[in-house]
Amino acid sequence: MAGEMIKVGMADLNVCRAPDAITTLGLGSCVGVVLYDKGAKIAGMVHVMLPDSTQIRQNHNKAKFADTGIDALLAMMAKAGAKTTSLTAKIAGGAQMFAFNSSNDMLRVGERNVQAVKEKLRSLGIRILAEDTGLNYGRTVEFYPETGEFWVKSVGKPVKIL
């Protein structure tokens, strides 16, 4: 596929338009959220680490949190010319990397991240078209705005195309 692959780091966000694609590598308990404007073929991705910015004092990095991260991504996409009223979402990540048997809050952050992302998207009226979340393994994701395909790659598993 022609076009560049734009990288999104941990607690980071970016926007791309076809034929470029956007990726984030090695999602663990973090969640990768893709917002997509099919008409304009513009996609944005945010790599969120924590569910709720209001629980944390050090919250100036907006992309770190599900609530502020998705808001910031929306603003960035609007600026890039996407129609924010017709967006759809695809999400991946939120794994529990270590098999703890405790219900310690600190360790169930993956699950809480996924929940927070879903709540935020629901409150914005953005429909989730596909997700690959939870379980206990890492994921690398790629999104191609040309086709709307969301590729999920994991160690020792075939590539999933959502």
């Binding site: 780091g9 590598l25 090695g26 770190k64 990397m97 098999a99 393994y137 690398t140």
Partner: protein, 205 residues
């Protein structure tokens, strides 16, 4: 409120480096007696890294690694992660179990996983006991948890804990070398903010 982002001053940085040095030294001795082999250690590198950089430390976020995680309680609460490159982990397990290098297949058996967990446990334990005796603080660690996966995914666990406090993580990288192979091990100690202050103040800071 203080945070990790308030830059550590030179002295605090030196102290953490020294803790890393002593901890890694202890861990090397433990490893050496476990493997009945001579192990050399380089001076560890101590770094404060941003999350973006953290993913790149072991050759990229997608590099296959073994991570052993312990959760800490007592005077110091938090987590400790010991991370090894996949090949290095495989090498250590083969050494420990007396399997010739070429015979071990690519997949880790349950036995090999449990051996690796034990290696992580002993190394991390040696590391923690050095910190404990240096600071006079009690550190109780949980059983070890193992995950073999992409570096980025494994590092997300400590990164998230650091993420609650600031935008950077403290990383101590130590390199070991036995007769044949260079082994890079990464220690990431994640004390809660309160515990971090306790460590520093117990050392007279």
């Amino acid at each position: 409120m203080q945070s990790y982002d308030a830059d550590l001053d030179e002295l605090e940085f030196d102290i953490l480096k020294e803790i890393g040095n002593i901890g890694a030294g202890n861990a090397t001795t433990a490893l050496s007696s476990m493997l009945h082999a001579k192990i050399d250690m380089h001076v560890p590198k101590v770094n404060m890294l941003s999350f973006k950089e953290l993913g790149e430390i072991v050759g990229g976020a997608e590099t296959l690694v073994a991570g052993i995680l312990l959760s800490l309680s007592g005077d110091v609460e938090g987590m400790m992660l010991f991370m090894l490159e996949y090949e290095a982990a495989r090498h250590l397990v083969c050494q420990l179990m007396g399997i010739p290098q070429e015979e071990e297949n690519v997949e880790f058996t349950d036995m090999a996983k449990s051996a690796l967990q034990e290696i992580g446990n002993i190394i991390s334990g040696a590391y923690l006991s050095a910190i404990s005796s240096l600071t006079n603080l009690t550190i109780i660690s949980s059983v070890p948890y193992l995950s073999i996966d992409m570096a980025g995914a494994i590092l997300s666990v400590p990164a998230i804990e650091f993420g609650k406090l600031g935008d950077r993580a403290l990383l101590i990288e130590s390199q070991f070398k036995d007769l044949e192979v260079d082994i890079s091990g990464y220690f990431i100690l994640i004390p809660t903010l309160e515990s971090n202050n306790r460590i520093l103040s117990s050392l007279g800071m």
